[in-house]
Subunit: 360 residues, 2 copies
């Protein structure tokens, strides 16, 4: 599937051209601390080395790489944000080390291969935005055979959760349908047109919007009602685009709370900075976006709602078949098929339920 | 300037493919009543005639035209909404009269010329969305020399207003800058990067967003503090695209309230259904989006804020130089230059002030 660049820009890149949006990321303390530590606690990876920052945005990671002693940093950014990155580099007196290049990483050329690729490419639930494709492309073209990826590993997680938003969204959906039904009556009586044939497609449109679109949420740990499982593990040094086109996993989870509601599943990710086998990090750093009271991130978690919620008990077991692939209309968005089967601790097995979700 | 169709679809058409959005228009009583009356009180224009509905959306105007006795109605819609329109036509048993055609009006061909072109093409402040271009194109290609346009005329209005949102937006802007300044301090102390060079571009970005982007608002009549003036009059039968690429007007307005605040200008439009000179409407209908207590529309008014507001008095006079043209990046959005000069009733003249606004 070939991607129209203009359309991709309109749909995706445009927001990154705003300082406001870059600031959202720059004020995410968990994110900032993880990248900061990964660089400054592993200076041996940067000292005298060449670095490529894929999607430099404001330029922050390129600047840190230079401050940690890099000999040369290529900072590539597709949007006009590149101009601000250039200003920032100069204001921090690093213009002799950091070279800002405006362009898509897929299109530009560098004069040399690099020792390190650093990038903050993670979208909601890791793969939304599909920006990791660009990092893989950069790695295959520009990383030395001995080079190191920052981050080096990534994982996707899924866990059963409880949450009030399941009810809330159901109420919103129902309110919306009540309004629609009033509208159909009105349109018939005042304007002589019978709209009832559109009730079904309207309800499908609204169901998709309210109930089947995954929600951004900052969950807290006690909303997780069962064991979390890993859906996918990625070695950033070796993974291919083919490996991430589809994420398929069959996992199990055991409910850990007595007499609670299962309202859906929460998805999140973590990434690790471990260097590479032959050249490991001195100090391994983890960036996690798991449910947390104090350490929430701008990524939050993605919530996939079950309607209606199910009453569950400690020891109940789930088997979840998870499959995520890219939306046909927009390769940066995702479709999720989530089927689950429940084995109660009593031994009884409930029939499989199949759900479709959209990560928009 | 050529327009990339894919980009135009991503930026513009996509929202019209949702029933939710069509419903917003279909529940706008003022809009519905005006079109309904214009058709059913002027049946002589429809009886036994051929009609083209440009951008039929849900199909409502095409269906009314058929119900008013049209022999044949071509209902053209660029988005997938065409499928719903087709269902609706069939459910109302008009499939022998109404033919729904999915495609851009610029691309499709009809088997004949038509007697009437009906269309609801008006965007915020009349011309936002630039959809009228498509109606002009349809008219030049498909309207018989004797044909009638529905609506037949359109006007743009501007008036001085007072409003709390001027202060509110200024507060929001200032709050946003305070936060930014905290962020700059934080980033320097915690992460060793001096972001202060970006303060100016950030403040410009936020000024544009909070203060220079025109606002959707439903004004009430007593917020209008001076005489309203016409910026532009359009005869839909004869106007060309060139005539609407730019709207330039020099108008005056007299303040009609004593000791009040001038907080900005409100812009709105009206359209009229008068038929044509040789074939006038039996019953002329007006659709106005002027400030109103009971008859607000989904268009509201566009508000252009002045910062800071100015204290004015009855009898003070304004001269406003207004110029609106299309945004280079997106021909469906507008840039406005609004200069004003004030002659106080005391005889004193205040210097000209020049403002730039964006209709996004
Ligand atoms: N293919 C590509 N080529 C160049 N830049 C890209 C890209 N895909 C995404 N980007 C840019 O990558 C950035 C990701 S956001 C991260 C910004 C910055 N590195 C930080 O950590 O704060 C965005 O600014 C986006 O415009
Ligand atoms: N060039 C073009 N060709 C075909 N349809 C177009 C078009 N430009 C805009 N449209 C469609 O015109 C519609 C305008 S909204 C009005 C919808 C309907 N006539 C009603 O009155 O309720 C949208 O559905 C939009 O998709």
């Amino acid at each position: 599937a070939s991607v129209d660049k203009g359309v991709d820009f309109a749909n995706y890149f445009c927001t990154y051209a705003f300082l406001y949006h870059q600031k959202d990321m720059l004020t995410d303390r968990v994110r900032m601390d993880a990248y900061y530590s990964s660089v400054f606690n592993n200076k041996q990876h940067f000292l005298g080395k060449t670095v490529l920052d894929v999607g430099t945005g404001s330029g922050i990671l390129a600047i840190w790489s230079a401050q940690a002693g890099a000999k040369k940093v290529y900072a590539v950014e597709a949007t006009k944000m590149a101009e601000h990155a250039r200003e920032l580099v100069r204001a921090n007196n690093l213009q002799d080390v950091v070279e800002v290049i405006e362009g898509s990483i897929e299109d530009i050329t560098l004069p040399e291969k690099v020792d390190v690729i650093i990038s903050e490419w993670m979208g909601y639930f890791l793969l939304r935005e599909s920006m990791f494709d660009s990092v893989i492309c950069a790695r295959d073209r520009w990383l030395k055979p001995t080079g190191v990826m920052y981050p080096s590993h990534a994982r996707m997680w899924l866990a059963p959760i409880r949450s009030d938003i399941a009810d809330q969204k159901m109420n919103e959906y129902e309110g919306c349908m009540d309004e629609w039904n009033g509208f159909v009556r009105e349109t018939k009586s005042s304007y002589g047109v019978d709209m009832s044939v559109l009730t079904k497609p309207f309800s499908e449109e609204q169901k998709k919007y309210y109930l089947q679109t995954s929600l951004w949420n900052n969950l807290v740990p006690n909303q997780v009602v069962g064991t979390a499982a890993i859906l996918k593990e990625i070695d950033c040094l070796t993974v291919t685009v083919d490996d991430i086109l589809k994420v398929e996993a069959s996992i199990s989870s055991t409910i850990s709370k007595e007499d609670t509601w299962l309202c859906g599943f929460g998805g999140w990710f973590d990434v690790h900075f471990k260097g590479r086998m032959e050249n490991p990090a001195e100090c391994e750093v983890e960036l996690t976006t798991a449910p947390s009271i104090e350490d929430g991130t701008h990524w939050g978690q993605q919530v996939f709602l079950l309607n209606p919620p199910i009453c569950v008990n400690e020891g109940d077991e789930f088997r979840v078949n998870f499959s995520m692939s890219r939306s046909e209309a927009n390769h940066r968005l995702m479709n999720v098929d989530l089927g689950y089967e429940m084995k109660l601790r009593s031994g009884k097995t409930l029939p499989t339920v199949q759900n479709k979700f959209y990560i928009e």
